[in-house]
């Protein structure tokens, strides 16, 4: 096995429970985003674009789906002879095995995997965030400062500091103190969950932490404070571009809407930093005579006969005549009939909305985004109030039906 200077360990086991029915069968990193992508595409593309071609993806919740999505990594240019991407679910050893108990334990369980490449540095990443970052610059920053650990940080509004791990730094970006979700923050630099470690040090610390029965085996809660106590050289790497944790329905919807601005902060069109994804192999989209499309992102294979405004459409979506889609996100292969109105809705894959339905009728339900999970059918003329979540299990309560197709679990 060839030596690699840097190995990336991408934590992709998050269940994303706050995304409700959207993560019923998907780990959070596999949730679709932006008309084309899954959340993990951003981190994987960052790796490839940064020239980091040895990536371990630590999966746990619904591992088979991520496994088949990632495949041999060819879609992200990560199918290399030396290195490449390896999906690492927690596996059973001779003496048994258990789920990853925390972010640090996940890496601990894969020490042997990392050792194969005998790296100088290990980059610990999370598959949960939307951002574009050149990790090779972060790595250079780490090397120049001869740091033991470097943590990427981003400024957050002071009023939100209580939701983050906050870094207190000196003027040279040396981290002096770490506050996990502080009530009174001394700073507004939040950890992005992106770490560079010198592997020798991390390896040692992971083993020590594993012994500690009190530990949660978490990078933020345990490993970093432990290294601060040991007076290691820990630097903050300030990041000043778009970064978003799409952990809730509201933030997922908002992050999609962010892309519709004329000059969005996250530029998907940058030629030198493409975001790769699995290609659905659909023909070019068809906008029919009489259709009206504005302020939207529409992907290949869509057929638009109606009106789409301020919305994000994934591949293969059909919008029928005289239908109106506003402020919504429609995932792959959703079919909207004629004379339908859809407002502020996120719709999962392969939903069907038959003619004359209204989805997300304002004022009918609680405020907020309406969500239809995958494979839900809203039959003829149904009115769905705003703010509800419907999946194939509870859909009968709303007069909806599950799609006749087979359950598409694993069928990405």
């Amino acid at each position: 096995m060839t030596k690699q200077e840097c190995v990336a360990m991408l934590l992709a086991g998050g269940q994303g429970t706050r995304l409700g029915i959207l993560t019923r069968k998907l780990a959070k990193p596999a949730v679709p985003f932006g008309g084309k992508y899954r959340i993990i595409d951003f981190t994987l593309s960052n790796c490839a674009n940064s020239g980091i071609y040895t990536v371990g993806v630590l999966t746990q919740y619904q591992p088979l789906i991520l496994n088949s999505y990632i495949g041999i990594g060819s879609h992200w240019d990560l199918d290399k002879k030396r290195g490449g991407v390896t999906v690492l679910p927690p596996y059973v050893r001779h003496d048994g095995g258990h789920w990853y108990l925390g972010t640090a334990n996940a890496v601990y369980q894969n020490i042997e995997f990392v050792d194969q490449y005998d790296p100088e540095y290990v980059l610990v990443l999370s598959g949960d965030h939307i951002y574009k970052m050149d990790y090779s610059i972060l790595l250079d920053y780490h090397k120049e400062r001869e740091a033991d650990v470097t943590i990427a940080v981003i400024e957050v509004p002071w009023e939100e500091t209580h939701r983050f791990g906050i870094m207190n730094t000196d003027k040279d970006n040396v981290i002096l103190e770490f506050q996990e979700k502080p009530k009174e923050a001394k700073n507004n630099l939040a950890s992005m969950g992106v770490y560079v470690f010198n592997w020798k040090l991390l390896r040692k610390v992971l083993i020590e932490d594993e012994m500690n029965k009190e530990s949660d085996h978490d990078f933020g809660k345990n490993i970093i404070p432990m290294l601060l106590d040991e007076k290691k050289r820990i630097f903050a790497y300030p990041f000043r571009h778009y970064w978003k944790d799409v952990g809730t329905i509201e933030s997922l919807w908002q992050a999609n809407m962010d892309l519709l601005l004329d000059q969005p902060e996250l530029d998907l069109y940058e030629r030198d930093w493409k975001i790769y994804s699995v290609n659905p192999n659909q023909p070019v989209q068809f906008i029919a005579k009489g259709a009206h499309v504005t302020h939207s992102l529409i992907n290949e294979g869509c057929q638009i006969y109606g009106s789409v405004k301020n919305s994000v459409l994934f591949p293969g979506v059909v919008v029928g005549k005289n239908s109106v889609v506003n402020d919504s996100v429609l995932m792959s292969d959703t079919v909207i009939g004629e004379n339908v109105t859809i407002e502020r809705t996120i719709m999962g894959e392969e939903c069907t909305v038959e003619d004359n339905c209204v989805i997300g009728q304002p004022g009918e339900g609680p405020e907020g985004i309406t969500v239809l999970g995958e494979n839900v059918v809203a039959t003829q003329g149904k009115v769905i109030p705003s703010g509800v979540e419907i999946n194939i299990e509870n859909c009968h309560e709303f007069g909806c039906a599950p799609n006749g197709l087979k359950d598409r679990k694993g069928d990405l």
Partner: protein
Amino acid sequence: MRDVLGIINDTDIRQKLKDLTRVRSTAAVPFGGRYRIIDFVLSNMTNSGIKNIGILTQSYNRSLLDHVDSGREWDLLSKRDGLFVLPPIFRYDQFTGNLGDVDHYYNHMDYLTRSRQQYILISNSNVIYNMDYREVQQCYEEKKADIVIVYKNIQPEEQNNHRVLSLLLDNNGQIRDMAASKENRLSPAVAMETAFMKKSLFMEIVDDCIARGYRDFTKDGLIKNLDKYNIFGYEHKGFAAKIDSIDTYYRHSMDLLKPEIWKELFFKHGNIFTKVKDEPPVKYLASADVSNSLLANGCHIAGTVENSILGRGVTVHAGAVVRNAIVMQKGQIHRGSTVENAILDKDVVVTPGKQLRGERDYPLVIEKQAVI
């Protein structure tokens, strides 16, 4: 069809595609927004289970090489078999200028010999259809044919004034006469430049032609041998287009705006694969006004687009109008400009306030990278 070798003939340089084939071979001409012409034949072959495909091409083959790359998009990256681009074998000092397709086949006889497949499916690079070649093989077996030729019945109103290969079939589907003519067609049946036979027979015909100084596989190898071999026709009932002129290119591109043709061509027997460019979805701005058009990913639309086909990454600025036009990859149409009845090759920039107009039956062709 693991036992079938696919051959795509992209050596014809007499195509009337004008500027579109100035910098590339026919196979590599963009079509349908995100595709190249060859994608259709190539995808049909791989969707039918063919694992070994040779493309005989021309010496200016860089676009084609770039496009097919390793063959990975068609799952043809392979140790045995896979995709082979076969450029002409000659040296600067040996080129005489009058090679026929037979010469190209003959020059690559070693590739044919080396391949392990028993049968051959040979197609021109310039036909657009979605076909399951397994049905052609089935016809070959049922009829106990020596050769099967794919044809389509062309109605008189669809005819153009080019020379086409028309066929005369008997009741059993056997071909009794063939002729390449403009006016006096033998029947509505027109050959679609696609044939199936044993590889050994193909090599025998090529060898016979070379031995006698013949250069044209169809005229010399097939028409003259109609008595010698049992040649049958297989009728393709769906959409099929032969791209052999600017006129047919423009007309058949516009055919894609009919949803039933769009669906048939891209989905009927399997998807059409192409090189993936990882473009983001199309972005429509507030002032976008698009109707009856096809748009490839990566486009940015703030202006008006009507009855048009836009390639990847095309930008139509606010106040610009694109009508009845084909705009290829990365074209930029600036504010106040109008492009109508035109074909814009890749990377064309139309600066503000320009008016480009052709006629529907004589579209304007703008060459690659032109700035107007």
